[in-house]
Symmetry: C2
Subunit: 294 residues, 2 copies
């Protein structure tokens, strides 16, 4: 299979579904709904929803049934970026080459747009328009809420912030990565699996893939921060270093970090063996995640 048209087609379908799911920009308060849409449509790669749909497919499910959950996942990811960029947090003026939400709409609206997107995600996950049994919807909500909450993504962001400018040990770096980025990526795979009707063994395959791919993604991101071109990331190269953030290359050196990312990619792909050809998109995505940094 050719990954590029696959990703493009999925991005388009996800964008359409997101546009239809979010409250209209004409609804009151218009500033809030414009702000929510601004960040959702600010050029994201839709990696998490694509993984969620691909996981559903990989276990023989219909990806259309997983579309509401895929959109919810992207809303949660977007809310986390809006809040992370705030002056009280990372204080970033640009993301993906565009002004961050609070630079355009002000801090108060940015905070509330994040709150609105997080809440909207759960509204979507619980909606009966998702043609899924309520028991499955509840299971997916639990999975995602656990991954996004204080023991997952939010907790990872706290430890990341508290570690800035400090010397941290390697387990702390791994805690940050597995929580701040890894938890939501893993939950995307698991949610897709649950919606697709994965049995215990298929669910275990997706979990192993998600754990390895999530960490590989973050190592690749760390590497790109050092060697990537600015236009590729839309943010300043070396910004992690400037901010005193711990990264994999800082701990392991660049060559060793690259080799660790490749190892994790191979582990992720190996975990998919029991799923056969239906998991091909996930295999290709594992390559895509790691190879963009090499």
């Amino acid at each position: 299979m050719d990954l590029k048209p696959y990703l493009q087609e999925r991005q388009q379908r996800i964008d359409q579904a997101l546009a239809a799911s979010l409250p209209g920009a004409d609804l009151l308060p218009a500033s809030l709904h414009r702000s929510m849409r601004y960040s959702v449509f600010a050029g994201g790669k839709r990696l998490r929803p694509i993984l969620l749909l691909a996981a559903c497919e990989a276990v023989g499910g219909d990806p259309e049934r997983a579309m509401p959950a895929a959109c919810a996942m992207e809303m949660i990811h977007t809310y986390s970026l809006i809040h992370d960029d705030l002056p009280a947090m990372d204080n970033d003026d640009f993301r993906r080459g565009q002004p961050t939400n609070h630079k355009v709409f002000g801090e108060a609206i940015a905070i509330l747009a994040g709150d609105g997107l997080l809440t909207e995600a759960f509204l979507l996950l619980a909606a009966p328009s998702a043609p899924l049994p309520a028991e499955i919807r509840c299971q997916v909500i639990r999975l995602i809420a656990k991954a996004a909450g204080s023991l997952g993504m939010v907790g990872g962001q706290v430890v990341d912030m508290e570690s800035e400018g400090k010397t941290i040990d390697f387990p702390t770096l791994e805690f940050i990565h597995t929580h701040k980025t890894g938890a939501l990526i893993l939950a995307s795979l698991q949610a897709g699996g649950v919606i697709g009707g994965a049995d215990q063994s298929a669910y275990a395959s997706l979990t192993a893939y998600g754990t390895a791919a999530g960490l590989a993604f973050q190592i690749a991101d760390d590497i790109l921060d050092i060697v990537g071109e600015q236009e590729l990331l839309g943010k300043d190269v070396g910004s992690d270093q400037a901010r005193g953030k711990a990264t994999y290359p800082a701990f392991l050196g660049l060559a060793e970090a690259r080799s660790r990312a490749s190892e994790l990619r191979d582990q992720a792909i190996a975990a998919l063996a029991p799923l056969g050809g239906a998991a091909d998109p996930l295999r290709q995505i594992a390559h895509y995640i790691v190879d963009r940094s090499s």
Copy 2:
């Protein structure tokens, strides 16, 4: 019935259930979990969870089955207070006589504690520990997410902020009150009703009660801001006026605002007629909401 011991007993049970539901203060990141607990246990009256349990009882349900939803409602209310108090929003240093979350833990942790509480609320609502059919859990999640999101509470906060220092018309004031405060109070009644197994007519009674009581609560709050004693509210008397916030007394005059609150209280109580004696706590609470301001 005597309301005071009833409220005290409910507050105690809700506090116990909240303490058991929230992630422990010993779990990593400890700062985040301490911050979440700090605001949840900062002396709230637990009005929303008490209304939720009372609504469940009023339609013949077992209030213990509604306890997870009651706790979730209080977590959402608490998150909204933490975010509203932030420097970028109302910039309040005190609430209920205690330093606000960001004064104790810093802005970044305060934002993330709010995010964590909102997410935790949905985790709790979806949990199978709530002995409720998944279909009911999904219905309650939808109700609450809709009330809390950009078309409900978050939207009300946006319009409230955007109206500060401006001359607004009466419909805008009503939009702010019905969304910022009213939506979550109404959802508490409706969620309690759904969990208690309300039929269509009982649900309509609770909806009428919740709509009237929610607005009466806000008018009473406005009145207390003008005439209340500082120790009663734990915030500065006249702070709405100082901030240029529109209030009911500012529009109607104090006497007319009081008479409007009493009217709404009577409407709320009248709506409960079909529910008989099981709705006595709700009747008493309607008196309590309004009479504290007269």
